[in-house]
Each structure stands twice: as C-alpha cells, then as structure tokens.
Amino acid sequence: MSTTSTSDQLVSNYVGDLNLALRIVGARVRREYLNEIKEHISESRLLLAADDEQGVRELLNNIGDPDVLAYELLATQRQQGGNWWQRRVAATGLARVISLTTVGLLAVLVVIALIYSNLYRPLSQGAEGGVEVLAPNGSPAQTVPDSAQLDNGAPTVYKEPIAKFFTVKVIASLYNEGPYSIVIDSVGSPSSFTIFDTRVRFDGTDRAEGSDGWRGGPRFHIFTLHSHQDQTLLITYRQRCQLHTGEVAGYGSVPVTYSYMFFHHSTFVDIDPFDIQMSSTC
C-alpha cells in the first residue's frame, strides 16, 4: 500500500491549482508550461531532503502564485511578436487552428447559403392563363356586356350566377425565373370569400371552353419546378354567392407555398385577372 506524503500532496495541489489557473491560455502552451514547472519542481526536490515539507513550501512559493504565473504567461503570449495567426498557432497548435478555421469557414458559407436561400424568390406568372365561372348546371356565367371583348387590359367581369354556389376554374401558370430549382408545396385559390371543394390539378390536355368546363390532368402533388420552367395548373373551387348588388370583386393572384433549401416561402403569383360582379339574388 502506498502512502502520499505531505510534500507530495503540496506539490499535487500546487500543480492542480496551476493547471486550473492556466485555463486562460491555449491548451498546447498550458501543457508545455505545466511540464516545465513539473520538471522544475522535480529538479528542485532533488536538492531537498526526502520529506522536507518546509523546503517544498518554499520551493513552491519561489515558483510563484499560480494565478500570477498564468497571467504572466498570457501577457508574454500577447507581447509576442507576429500576427494573430501565428499567436493562435502557438497557443493551440496548427491542427486545431486549421480545424477551427475550417469549421468557421463552413459556418460562414452555411450562413451565406441560408441568407441567399431565404432571399431566393424566383416565382412569377407563366405564359398560360384563363378563367371560367360556371353556374351549377355547368353553363358559363354571363359577362358584363363588352367587358370580355375590351382590349384595354381591363379584366373580364363575370356576373355572379343566380345560385347559392357557383364554380370557378382558374388557370394558373407558375414560372421559375431563377437559376435554381424549387419545390412547389401548395397552391390555393384566388378568392378570399367563402369557398369549398378547392381542387388543384396539373394542366389537362382537354381544355376546351364551354359547358364541359376544363377537366385538368392529374391531381396536384408536391413537385419540383426547375429553373426557367413553367407549370400550368387548373384550380377549381365552389364559391358561395355574395349578396351585394352591383359590387365587383377582383381576383388577380393565387397563394403559393414553395421550398428552397431549408426555407418555406409563401407568395402570391399573378394570374390573368378577372372580376365577379355580385348579384342581388342568389
């Protein structure tokens, strides 16, 4: 069974205190300095009697207060010539500096990428467009005389069909004008009124106008819209009749949510605008 002498305990406590105080300097410098001090203690003890407790106390006292030594070492490091890079290398070792710098650069790149992706808003209206407003029996709603034929850029004004609900079909065309692909998560209707049965389909081959209406193709699902591509969608919904004689509600965009990298964005994409004139009877 071994026993630890008081002198050994004094030395052990001192080295422990010094190690603690040296936290303010780099790991490599701390390790090197601790070794030097330990060697210094060992050399000094060779000159002392085996268990000269008082001698060991004096020896440790001569080496100096751990906190003072730590600050002295730190000050020496700071006084040392050379640039920041050299000091860091001296303090922490080349491998550690390289890894820390690499991690730092990667973090900066990630932050830049996140900021870019957050600002990436490439959606706009594509080439296609159109709208159908249908009565419950499938017949097209009347338009305000001449509004459909006017070629002045003004939207067509549809008269609200006389029914509790009527159907609206809107062609929305999404165009990705940015250099990177995005994922389209959802597309909504342009109406802010009470609506039901909103259905979104990919564009169908059969889009003949008339009472048959537009059927559209496959049901909407999340899809990738590549750079400089557009995708036409058919949005169908039923809208409740509004009782406001003569007032006109305008529709000009659809809500779209999309993802790019880690960000989800909500935006509105323009559609061919149309108006619905509200009726006095439903």
Binding site: V29, E32, Y33, E36, I37, E39, H40, S42, E43, S44, L46, N62, I63, G64, D65, V68, L69, E72, L73, T76, Q77, Q79, Q80, G81, G82, A90
Partner: protein
C-alpha cells in the same frame, strides 16, 4: 506621485532580464532549472521562478535561443537552451547600449551627494 517599489523593480527587470539569460547562455548551454536558479541567486532579477519559462519560450520563438534534449543522470531528459548567432548579436547590441545608459543614470544619481 508615490512609486510602488515592486512595480519599479518589475519595470527595470522587464527590459533587461532576457539579456541576462542570453549572457548566462553565452558561456555554456543550460537547462531551465539551471537558468532559473542562476537568475534567482543573483538577487532581485526573479521574484517568481515560474516566470522564467515563458521568457525562455519567447526567446526561443524570437530565434535568440534554440533548444535540444539531453539525457540526465538524475532523471528524465532535460531541455537545454543554447544561444544562437542572432542571440549573440542581440546581446552585443544590448551591452553596447547598457553600459553608457547605466553610467549616465549613475552619474545623475551621484549628483545627489
């Protein structure tokens, strides 16, 4: 102004102690403990022996000394410090400045009678 004598000593020591180390190494290579004890025995040059090691590191980083390991009969290998050519030049330069500086200070102080 009241001058703290400890601070004064620290300031005076700061500018000269590294040249004292170089002077010790001019005649023979020494290891850390040996250098520390020599400085401590000179009186007033070192208050904390532990502060000598950062100084030796600085001298080494500045290229004024270099080191090598040597076996010891009394224990593990010792790191020996050896003055370099640059270190000798620095020491010569210090000595050439130090002597007239010391004489000038002494001359002024001697006027106090």
């Amino acid at each position: 102004m009241v001058v703290n004598s400890d601070k004064l000593l620290v300031q005076m020591r700061r500018g000269s102690i590294e040249y004292c180390v170089l002077a010790l190494l001019e005649t023979e290579d020494r290891y850390g403990f040996d250098i520390t004890r020599e400085l401590a025995s000179a009186g007033g040059l070192v208050t904390s022996e532990g502060t000598v090691y950062p100084l030796l590191t600085r001298l080494r980083n500045d290229g004024l000394v270099d080191t090598y390991w040597k076996d010891s009969t009394e224990g593990p290998q010792r790191r020996y410090y050896r003055i370099t050519k640059v270190g000798r030049q620095a020491l010569e330069s210090f000595i050439s400045q130090w002597k007239p500086f010391r004489d000038a200070v002494d001359a002024i102080l001697a006027r106090r009678g």
